[in-house]
Chain length 400, copies 4
């Protein structure tokens, strides 16, 4: 076993950290206080700088403009970018685009790649992934109300989706819809279909108000009604009925990205907590850090963040070596484990800041609000714990 | 011992609950989505209905238009009103006005009462309480930067305050300021002074953005610079140097109000969790409530809420019988105990709602954001635990 | 509502507390280090003193030698006695005898009362309750392997039981056995039957080694094989098929007794923790109690114990006023709630004692071992949480 | 980074696991039920088999009969041996002997090595480490009551120690005593001295009853009075005044050993929990593992154990590469982190077993009792959290 990060990677990570600190963090206050569209020109300028540094879209292949980074290396990068809510966006590796790009890479036709993948990879357009439905539980992905009926050479899509993140302003959506309702295997019934957002019948009902904000642009979550929304059948992504298989492909690396992003948040929150504790005076000359309760928050957070990082890196390593299926326990485990570490670390950091912690003068309150969903999306804690138990119990000849 | 609520009170509580459900809850969506000032005309109309029902300002004496309710009875009312974020406001018993009214009742001169208490009691004006400072820790209330220097017959106030809730639009502030910096006893150095908000030098710097919103009007928290702000010395509230003593008077009953309000929130969140679990289908015919994890959240929340209520009622009972000093352990205990129950109950209710839980389609996400501060304001968890331990350890002859 | 304990009861409780401290606690070291039988003569002598004080068997009717205490009063007594592991035994109100006496009072024939209840009430014999089976889960009480088959005028009992506490040396067992296997209602299939322990076929296989000790006498838990164990049918307790109904009768008050006993343990552990923290020096002149972590343990334990007590007293009050059925939520809640408070309070007290905490120089380590079972017996935490959720969810028209 | 265990090591670990299962686990029931001395002949026979397999004393150098395993490899072995309470003893790498051997290797004179180290390494004698004192806190190791006064060519030792584990039957003790009380640096005042247990004045007062058992032989913890106990000065281990430095040397690798041993316990408990859940029927055909609560215990335990192992292996790796000082945060972190994982995993495993879990029919109850001390010895949780916070806060220029 070897826990060393290669020196070249270490060096690049340090440079990225500096870049994020110098170029990205100063935008945070504006990001939290104003519409996303107002910030967009500045973000495009930052993206140009990133590209100039040779850092663009790290996990994408060099052939389409990325850095061609393996998952285990990008994991570290994702942590660095995660220290600011804007890091991944500026490096063009933010959800949902990065997930769509990875899926298009694997499953798109040459024509689809040309039309959807390449402009995404260049950062010219944005996209969204339209899977979750308000009337059906996310915990049961094979139960879905949206259908895509064949008519002539088209699919006609009907249904209601929500939490289609970043749909506002996106050029296209990848939509999950039931195409084969009579397939005896429930997980073979749905397909993924590319739907340009200017297609008639693609109706954004609202940007959902989440934790106090409806947001806009990339920073939003849409509710969408598909009302006889008609696209050509060539917009099918991969095979018909392969919707869930493709969705699984998306989730593996996506989980590593997310988890390391959360760890980046944790590290930033940890630094803020330590710095505040070390400087805030409770009485003349007596700093907050003298309090044993704060010391314990520091020690517990340090331990939990380090544990979380090792878990994620180990999962990425196993996924890379043995494939996502072999790493199923590890991948499900990090989802809930890291999301809960994030929850606790943010909570402690806020408590250590006192009244300041709930203001928007630090990024803590924003993360507290926005990342509460980390324990819910992409499979709630409860779902993933059950997945792990199911895998474990199979070795004991029990099917749960 | 007798755990029965008198029948007449039970009846009134049921009527209030119906009123809150029918008249107050329908305003919540608008409250969360629009400026407070837009809602104000509707709120005034609701206040008129409350008054018509004979329910106005329950803890205030009848002589000034209240219901003259003892603390132990009002505790129950506060729970009912707490089920909606607007309940206390509509009944004219919301912080900070109710605290100011209670303090004015006890300590104001007849002239001060005429000018400040009575219009407040009638709901014609609003007020604020200006104590917390950004540069000094709330955990050490005797260490404060704001001063009130005597000049002629005036006090000249200088300093910076924040978390002066509801200052925006208030008619006056009760300001804590150091008037006797040389008093050997630190807790005898500050006084409370009434400052009309139109006094020159009373400068609201900003409504602080808290958990994503700066808010306005009653629903805001101001940062205020007192810049040679001059008021006549007759605006002193109570004795000079009695600032902390008066602040203590405020905190006792205030804690009961707050804690029972939080219990009201808990009960509403509990109902939402149960109702959602009972109706949300995970698969055709299989509701969420079948999941053992959800069942445990229900059982644990039921237990914790019931425990919290008994603790608060017991504290109110003891405070009423033996005074706030005798009930010091109980009063400090409920502050952190109930705030943490609130935290957990809201967290579980959100988790049970899944993606819906973090939207503003239910009041849960709003409470999650706004009530995170419950573990911080009026003494953080850590402060109150230390207070309790100090009291306990005195019986073991240790001073901590 | 009234949280006052009547003065006369307060006075008696104080006297009992003194008695327990002076007469009972000094026996603890011997109790933990030596066989129970060695201690028995001393215990009998203490019992005589209790009787002389007029305190014998508080919850039993005066007519049979008890104090005739209502449940809500005895709750307080149970707390006082619970401060020592020997308290209830010395006052002749320890499990399992007190449960058997309560059941015999309600359900026994005059002849059964004469033969079994009265000697028990006088403390001349001991008894046991034989319900739990090793091969069937306690969480499903209607699924049971032990049968009582009618032959002539007898029942012939066959089966294996364990956790028949205090069987070693008992005069008789009350045995749960299936008498009506074909009854369509599972909970009408079993009956309770009185079995003298000298009946042939009543075979104690072993005193189970529990947490390191098999124990003996009252302080033991037997595994018993009923091997064609034959008793006359007149030994049936109550109606045939009423086994579960009678068991339910036993559990209600039993839960109050247990929970208040646990609270007594908590209070003793709390005192030990405070006293040790107040005197143990970490450095010359600096006591352990100066540590914020210890202060928090004190505050948290104080809060949780007080919450637990209020919950139990409220449950007892409701049970007394409205019956056990109406108080089902409260009774199930206190079972798991108080058992978990006990767990945490003991854990903190041990941690505060450091190395001393795990020795048998204090009673803490003994409770830590023996009371781990509190979260398991009489319905594990998980069972009771489900019971509560079931009751709650019925109001939402869901049957779980 | 590379998370792979080398194939040769994997193979050996599998063989050791089989050996432990086949040869060691069958002794557990006897170990828990009878005096250690009764089991000793069997243990010696098992030791012979271990030696025959070439596995003796893995972390010791080959030159003195060990396997010469590096710390990072032995970590894995320690986990395998930890699956049974007797594993380390049988492989001659159990505390306190292994710690004494490591310290003697580094600090003993050739004569001391000949006399004390070699017989230990051969398993001919046992030893103990006499540091902890009942009257002084373990959290403040530089405050100590035991003194070693020079008289002629001897040290004369006086003081009281406890928790001198395995003193009963040991050939010698390594004793910490103050030799230089006037050294201005408190951590330079004590020395380590080798004391043969047959020295006059070495008085074992008692084997302390810990969690219900005083034990004997290796499985015991002595209280010792040193009463003018006189040994030659050549028995000094290392330099005078170097007691704490040497103690630190001992703790680093010792922590890895202990933590991996705890992880071995966790894995065994995890297997027992899974196997029991998979087979225990709650109703005909419905196994315990169907319960979501049990599934969550499995998932949470799996995650925590895996996190713990990665933490420990990473700490061992860093210690090996950069030394114990550089790895101070990691070493302190694993101490409390793993001890708490152990605590929770055992608690869940017991709860899953129900009544069976608190019996001694499985090893769970024994570990629950004996390993409660894991959160206390070698630095309580609170001590290590403070150590971590101190290190972290130094980067923020605060000394706590």
């Amino acid at each position: 076993m070897d826990f060393t990060i290669p020196a070249a990677l270490e060096k690049m990570l340090a440079e990225m950290r500096n870049f994020v600190r110098a170029e990205v963090m100063p935008l945070e206050r504006e990001f939290s206080a104003r519409p996303f569209r107002d910030l967009l020109p500045t973000l495009q300028e930052k993206r140009a700088r990133v590209r100039a540094r040779g850092w663009w879209a790290p996990p994408l292949p060099r052939a389409i403009g990325g850095m061609g980074m393996p998952l285990t290396d990008f994991a570290h990068v994702s942590e660095e970018l995660g220290r600011s809510p804007l890091g991944h966006f500026i490096f063009n590796c933010a959800a949902p685009d990065i997930g769509n790009m990875e899926v298009l890479l694997q499953h798109a036709t040459p024509e689809q790649k040309e039309k959807y993948l390449l402009p995404l990879a260049r950062g010219e357009i944005r996209s969204c992934f339209s899977m979750t439905e308000p009337d059906y539980p996310g915990s049961n992905p094979v139960w879905m109300g949206t259908t895509a009926r064949k008519e002539g050479s088209d699919y006609v899509i009907n249904g209601r989706k929500w939490y289609t993140s970043s749909a506002d302003g996106a050029a296209f959506a990848v939509v999950m819809a039931v195409t084969n309702p009579d397939d005896p295997k429930p997980h073979r019934r749905a397909s993924q279909i590319i739907v340009p957002t200017n297609t008639p019948g693609f109706n954004i009902v609202r940007n959902i108000s989440v934790m106090g904000h409806a947001g806009d642009g990339w920073a939003s979550h849409a509710e969408i009604v598909y009302d006889n929304c008609r696209v050509p059948q060539k917009n099918l992504l991969g095979a018909e009925g392969a919707g869930f298989v493709i969705a699984q492909d998306r989730l593996g690396p996506g989980r590593i990205h997310h988890c390391m992003r959360w760890i980046g948040i944790c590290e930033r929150a940890f630094e803020l907590m330590c710095a505040h504790s070390a400087s805030r005076q409770l009485a003349p000359g007596e700093v907050l850090a003298k309090k044993q309760s704060v010391q314990f928050w520091i020690a517990e957070s340090r331990a939990e963040i380090d544990a979380a990082r090792l878990m994620v890196l180990n999962a990425a390593f196993k996924m890379e070596r043995e494939g996502a299926k072999a790493a199923r326990i590890e991948i499900s485990t990090i989802k809930w484990f890291v999301a809960n570490v994030l929850d606790r670390v943010l909570d402690r950091a806020i408590q250590a800041h006192g009244g300041l912690g709930v203001t928007d003068d630090t990024p803590l309150a924003g993360w507290y609000r926005q990342e509460r969903a980390a324990r819910i999306y992409d499979g709630a804690d409860e779902v993933h714990k059950t997945v792990v138990a199911r895998q474990v119990l199979r070795e004991y000849d029990v099917e749960i």
